[in-house]
């Protein structure tokens, strides 16, 4: 089990070593110490390994992640797991702005709160936030599921496309073209499936969530809706 101390090893060296790994590698569990808020730690991973980071990370940790599992035993800066393709990213603490931004697949779990723009422009990623999410979360969200145990700030789902937003607590306000929608069985199953993958098997009742999504009124520009922008 490789252990890397970022107070000793340059970040560029660590990431290059992680990028050199092949799918057949037997170095499948890496431990990173003293991240000290450095940026882009474990970004661009491309193989099914586990990287465990002990401490807070800066911007874009696990950016564009593919296949790998990245665990942050601390808080994460801006854009954790941005544009993730697949795999699993787990932040044990809080996450800053734009967590999971533009993510196209995989699962992002945040045990604390996520700041503004969580899931902005998400494109297929599933995001589970145990705490609350800040304003403008799921802005222009295209696809995927955002599951929030706590509350959502202002303008949730502004200009949303086909992503599904599930919030257990309150929503301060909804953004343009985002409405509350009926929770059907398929949606409860979706929550259950996402939560199971996130490690909450049976612990949370999907019935406690409300669903939000696109009213689809702004999909084709109509001058009669100009005032809604």
């Amino acid at each position: 089990m490789p252990e890397v101390d970022l107070d000793v090893t340059p970040l560029r060296e660590l990431n290059a070593a992680l990028h050199r790994l092949t799918p057949e590698t037997n170095e499948r569990h890496w431990v990173i110490d003293h991240p000290a808020g450095r940026h882009a730690i474990a970004s661009g991973l491309n193989v099914p390994i586990t990287v465990e980071i002990n401490g807070p990370v800066g911007y874009y940790c696990a950016g564009m992640n593919k296949l790998a599992t990245v665990v942050v035993n601390g808080s994460a800066g801006v854009g954790v797991a941005e544009n993730m393709m697949s795999g699993f990213v787990h932040v044990a603490g809080d996450a800053s702005q734009s967590a999971g931004a533009t993510g196209r697949g995989g699962l992002l779990r945040i045990d604390g709160n996520a700041s503004s723009r969580c899931g902005i422009s998400m494109k297929g990623i599933d995001i589970v936030v145990q705490g609350s999410v800040g304003h403008m979360s799921a802005f222009m969200a295209q696809a995927g599921n955002l599951v929030v145990f706590g509350d959502a700030g202002d303008s949730l789902g502004d200009s949303i496309y086909e992503a599904r937003l599930f919030v257990r607590g309150g929503v301060k306000s909804l953004g343009a073209d985002c409405i509350e929608k009926e929770m059907r069985d398929e949606h409860k199953r979706a929550i259950h499936e996402v939560l199971t993958r996130a490690g909450f098997d049976g612990e949370v009742d999907p019935n406690e969530f409300k669903r939000y999504g696109s009213a689809r009124k702004l999909y084709t520009f109509n001058v009669d809706h100009a005032g809604e922008y």
């Binding site: 560029r12 940026h39 801006v78 533009t102 723009r117 422009s121 222009m140 084709t220």
Partner: protein, 442 residues
């Protein structure tokens, strides 16, 4: 005999025929006009500059005989694999979606034949494009449609798009007519809806964040790829300085004549600077930071001829980029299709409803029947021919000015025909030593 002579009917210069037609169109529809292309109004441009050529005090090079190099290195600041282009003319970013697959393939073929690069657009990278482009620049746009680390790694350079000349501060739009199954899938959006591309990046705000974003892209690509920052011409001095501060290898500066696939007419014609007024401030920023020629400058927006290329280089650019002219080389607005243009209510040379997807030349369309009109092999050949002419013309001027490399052209080789151009390009008004706004003018 009460026939008092009448004055000739006189139309208003302010309310001209075009303006009147636009008012009538707005009154009937209630919505602003959307079109493709760049600014159509007349603005100060390279036409307002002249080269002096060699004379008693300057020694020319023999045309066709003596070497006049045209190559350019891009990305020498940080990238482990900078680009080496044979000509200082690149193909600007244009998306698959706004353009047909045949058009993208044509651009790749033509650029590759001439040893230069082409650029993806707001829709991701297609196999046709990667396969036919020897050197491909991959755009990272606010929408991040199709963005993925594999394409990032198989690109030859990365261009972070902050804005474009046609609409600095605006996002993109692709109307439903052009959203085919393939385009929809690439963008992870439903078919047939209007697609808005965001105007702001989702995961960074401001140059301090951008510096970290660039660091992430370099980490993901193991510091191999040149990273460009593209801005629309609006505050070129500060945008260039901030791009350098953020860690860019290359700055791409796009003037208001640069085209867009679709945006509001009012945006295209009234926001941003003509490229002539943007180059010198950008070069000044690079010089003030000691980074001229270390961070390369690519300029675009209204480049049509080798004269335009030479003038842009003389003002301090390292290379230029063409978009509209490249499409015209492929056949856009060709009188060959005049009957089709008439059917669309326009005429060859004026067609700009690129967003409607009914391009008779098969370029700005996703209609398979129309797109099939464009033969990518022939299109590539035509673009290569055009690029070759641009290069030969640039060399012709450079040799006349006594330069053995096109990069040796300099502002001292130029004069301006108008006071406005003299002030913008910071070269003397022809026949004078007057540079309006210069220190000696104060």
């Amino acid at each position: 005999m009460d026939a008092t002579p009448r004055t000739t009917p006189r139309k208003s210069a302010t309310f001209d025929d075009y303006t009147l037609s636009e008012i009538r169109r707005a009154a009937a529809s209630g919505i602003y006009d959307i079109r493709g292309g760049g600014a159509k109004r007349k603005v100060p441009h390279f036409d307002d500059l002249l080269f002096l050529g060699a004379s008693m005090s300057r020694y020319p090079l023999e045309g066709y005989r003596e070497k006049c190099a045209t190559d350019v290195w891009l990305g020498t600041r940080f990238a482990e694999k900078p680009l080496h282009l044979k000509i200082p003319i690149t193909i600007a970013g244009m998306s698959f979606g706004s353009l047909s697959a045949q058009a993208k393939e044509s651009l790749g073929r033509g650029a590759s034949q001439m040893g230069t690069s082409t650029t993806t657009g707001d829709g991701g990278m297609t196999e046709e494009e990667r396969g036919h482009s020897t050197i491909l620049v991959y755009q990272l746009l606010p929408s991040r449609y199709g963005m993925n680390p594999d394409d990032l790694r198989r690109a030859d350079a990365i261009e972070i798009v902050i804005g474009q000349g046609a609409k600095p501060g605006g996002g993109g739009m692709l109307l439903g007519q052009k959203i085919s199954d393939r385009v929809a899938e690439m963008r992870t959006l439903p078919k047939g809806i209007d697609q808005r591309s965001a105007c702001r990046h989702p995961d960074w705000t401001g140059p301090d964040d951008l510096e970290i974003k660039i660091q992430e892209l370099r980490e993901i690509t193991d510091w191999q790829k040149p990273i460009y920052i593209k801005v629309g011409a609006s505050r070129p001095y500060y945008d260039t300085a901030l791009a350098v501060k953020s860690g860019a290898d290359v700055v791409v500066l796009d003037g208001m004549q640069g085209g867009t696939a679709a945006t509001q007419e009012v945006f295209i014609e009234h926001v941003g600077l003509p490229i002539l007024g943007a180059i010198r401030p950008a070069v000044q920023a690079l010089q003030d930071l000691g980074m001229h020629r270390k961070v390369q400058l690519i300029v675009s927006g209204g480049i049509r001829s080798g004269a335009d290329v030479a003038k842009a280089l003389a003002l301090g650019a390292d290379a230029v980029s063409i978009g509209t002219a490249a499409l015209v080389a492929l056949g856009d607005n060709d009188p060959l299709y005049e009957n089709d243009y008439q059917d669309l209510g326009t005429t060859a040379g004026a067609y700009d409803d690129w967003h409607e997807g009914r391009c008779p030349a098969g370029i700005t369309t996703q209609d398979p029947g129309l797109a099939a009109r464009l033969d990518p092999v022939l299109g590539g050949r035509r673009l290569a021919n055009y690029l070759s002419v641009l290069t030969l013309e640039t060399q012709t001027i450079a040799r006349a000015c006594g330069k053995s490399h096109v990069h040796n052209l300099e502002p001292e080789d130029l004069v301006a025909l108008t006071v406005e151009a003299a002030a913008m390009a910071k070269v003397p008004l022809a026949g004078t030593d007057w540079i309006p706004g210069s220190k000696s003018d104060r």
